[in-house]
């Protein structure tokens, strides 16, 4: 029973934050100089008379005040209707669902890979401060933390796809092939490089964080006591370090979902991978306001749930931490 109250509080907070996100992003879209009717008509703009424009504006409710429009949009949102995307000519919810299905393979595997590799590199580096291994791993993490994501992806394409020809340069499957014809192996082949690049970028922060935790432990009383009993560094790292460093690493992994998603936008763009990130860029460049709003809300939900899990995991994994005590 003790657990329910804080969870209810978090869910209420989540709802409040989401409403704020909706408000802020809607406000930004209203402030944009791009005219939604122009964006919808595209090149046919010249063939539409002012009377017809007024009709379209009336039909879509653009002649109402901003507050009324926001009210309409919010009411539709609650009933599950996110609007119509004119870039993909589909309901926004369908576009997001389809695209996210493709992105989740990329995001999920990169996330898992970066958490596992990052954590083990951090433990290895932190187990022996100042060793050669530590220097190599720290330098590597330091450099990748400063590398622009899209540049790394560009280099990967240049090296593995163009020069060596090991992996395809673009897309989620061979050009022109239907979705049903593409085999699993081909799909994985196309996913390989994007996943590797995205994971490589996520590794740095988890490695550096875990390493700091390990250094803390190695200087603590627990470690000194263990050393005096004859335990080796490996012993201490394995028996105490893993537990000590795993909670912050898991928390960080959940808390960095936003960054992961940001990275996936850039990487999907470079690899022309037809996921949610690419749809975001297309929506922004071609002024597809409903789609952009839908994606902003969807990603906010995604990231907030990640943050919520990160906060809750603390109390589940480490029972010494009381809920609400921090």
């Amino acid at each position: 029973m003790r657990l329910i109250a804080p969870i209810a509080k978090r869910v209420a907070r989540l709802a409040l934050v989401l409403i704020c996100v909706a408000l802020v992003s809607y406000g930004l879209m209203m402030a944009s100089p791009v005219d939604p009717i122009d964006a919808y008509l595209g090149p046919q703009m010249a063939q539409v008379s002012p009377e017809q424009r007024a009709l379209i504006a009336q039909r879509w409710g653009f002649d109402e005040s901003a507050v009324v429009q926001f009210g309409h949009w919010l009411r539709q949102l609650v009933s599950g209707d996110l609007g119509w995307s004119h870039v993909y000519n589909q309901p926004v919810s369908e576009v997001i669902a389809q695209r996210f299905q493709r992105s989740i393979a990329l995001l999920g595997s990169a996330w898992l890979l970066s958490a596992l590799v990052g954590f083990s590199l951090g433990v290895m580096a932190g187990a022996k401060e100042g060793s050669k291994l530590d220097n190599i791993i720290s330098t590597y993490a330091f450099i990748t933390a400063s590398t622009p994501a899209f540049w790394l992806a560009l280099l990967a394409v240049l090296l593995f796809s163009v020069t060596l020809g090991w992996t395809p340069t673009c897309c989620a499957g061979p050009a022109g092939a239907l979705n049903q014809e593409v085999t699993l192996a081909t799909r994985l082949h196309h996913l390989l490089l994007p996943v590797a690049t995205l994971a490589l970028l996520g590794i740095a922060s988890i490695t550096l964080h875990t390493r700091t935790r390990m250094l803390e432990l190695m200087r603590s009383d627990v470690a000194t006591h263990a050393f005096s009993q004859g335990a080796s560094r490996l012993d201490v790292a394995w028996r105490h370090g893993l537990r000590h460093a795993s909670v912050p690493a898991i928390t960080l992994a959940f808390a960095s979902l936003g960054e992961l998603f940001g990275g996936s936008i850039l990487i999907e763009q470079v690899f022309a991978y037809p996921g949610l990130g690419q749809a975001t860029v297309a929506a922004g460049l071609r002024s597809d306001v409903p789609l952009l709003l839908g994606i902003a809300l969807f990603t906010a939900l995604f990231v907030s749930v990640g943050n919520m899990i990160a906060d809750s995991l603390y109390t589940v994994i480490d029972p010494r931490i009381q809920p609400g005590g921090l």
Partner: protein
């Protein structure tokens, strides 16, 4: 590693970075419009003695364009970091005034942190219609929360400090306490905070420009250069993709080092 003299290392790193930045700014003066000069007899020339880093599809020298791009990034990053620090400072100050305002500011922070940075940047750049100004504002508006949190915690702690309470009890005005006691204490935090923001600011500017939401394609920004390079990638014109990104990486690394040294020294 000589950890005994963090101040010396910080001073050294500050000197080197300042020298490089001065060189970068001076080079823009000396170069004039050579980043935009086209040579139609030397299009897509590989790196050689005549064309140090090669040329692009219109025969423009890549080294001049990369330097110009780095200078652009530097100015955009500076302005954005400065603006962001100001926002953080003023919102942290507002948050300490009352509990209700504090709740409001923390709700704002939670809202901004719950949308992925890049998507928020795209929304703001879209709302402002793109261009240099839009990028600076977008980067400034998205990067303040972490610094604001630090400053807010500092301010809460400072308000309880004995010397501040004595000063208040002696009848000094709020304004005197603010600029006589609180600000001098916060300035080092702001400085380090701005320096920490700076690399993120330039990376995000480049990413935004690369996606097509930032600086206009006619400017030689790093993001524009790399987006151009994407088009010629399959032709094997490797120099177009490698050098601008390498320049950006070196600049970001330099500032990261500087800020970590400074943080240790202060």
């Amino acid at each position: 590693m000589s950890q005994a003299q963090p101040r010396l290392r910080a001073a050294f790193s500050l000197g080197v970075t300042a020298l490089l930045v001065m060189g970068l700014v001076a080079s823009q003066w000396l170069l004039g419009d050579s980043p935009q000069q086209m040579q139609f007899d030397a299009r897509l020339a590989p790196p050689s003695v005549e064309h140090w880093l090669g040329t692009d599809a219109l025969g423009r020298e890549l080294w001049a364009r990369t330097l110009a791009g780095l200078a652009l990034s530097f100015w955009v990053g500076c302005l954005a970091a400065l603006l962001s620090t100001l926002i953080a400072l003023s919102l942290a100050a507002i948050a300490t005034l009352s509990a209700r305002l504090d709740a409001l500011v923390s709700l704002l922070i939670d809202t901004l942190l719950s949308v992925p940075h890049l998507i928020l940047l795209m929304l703001i750049a879209f709302a402002l219609g793109g261009g240099t100004q839009a990028v600076i504002i977008a980067v400034a508006v998205t990067h303040w929360p972490s610094l604001a949190r630090v400053l807010r915690a500092e301010l809460w702690q400072l308000r309880q400090a004995p010397y501040v309470r004595i000063s208040r009890a002696l009848g000094k005005s709020r304004w005197f306490v603010l600029h006589g006691h609180l600000l001098p204490h916060l300035i080092p935090h702001c400085l380090v905070g701005a320096l920490l923001l700076f690399p993120h600011a330039i990376l995000h500017e480049a990413a935004l420009t690369f996606l097509g939401f930032g600086l206009s394609p006619s400017q030689p920004a790093i993001g524009v250069l790399l987006a151009d390079a994407m088009r010629y990638l399959s032709g094997g014109y490797w120099w177009l993709g490698i050098f601008p990104g390498l320049g950006l990486l070196l600049m970001v690394l330099g500032f990261e080092r500087l800020s970590s040294h400074l943080r240790r020294a202060l």
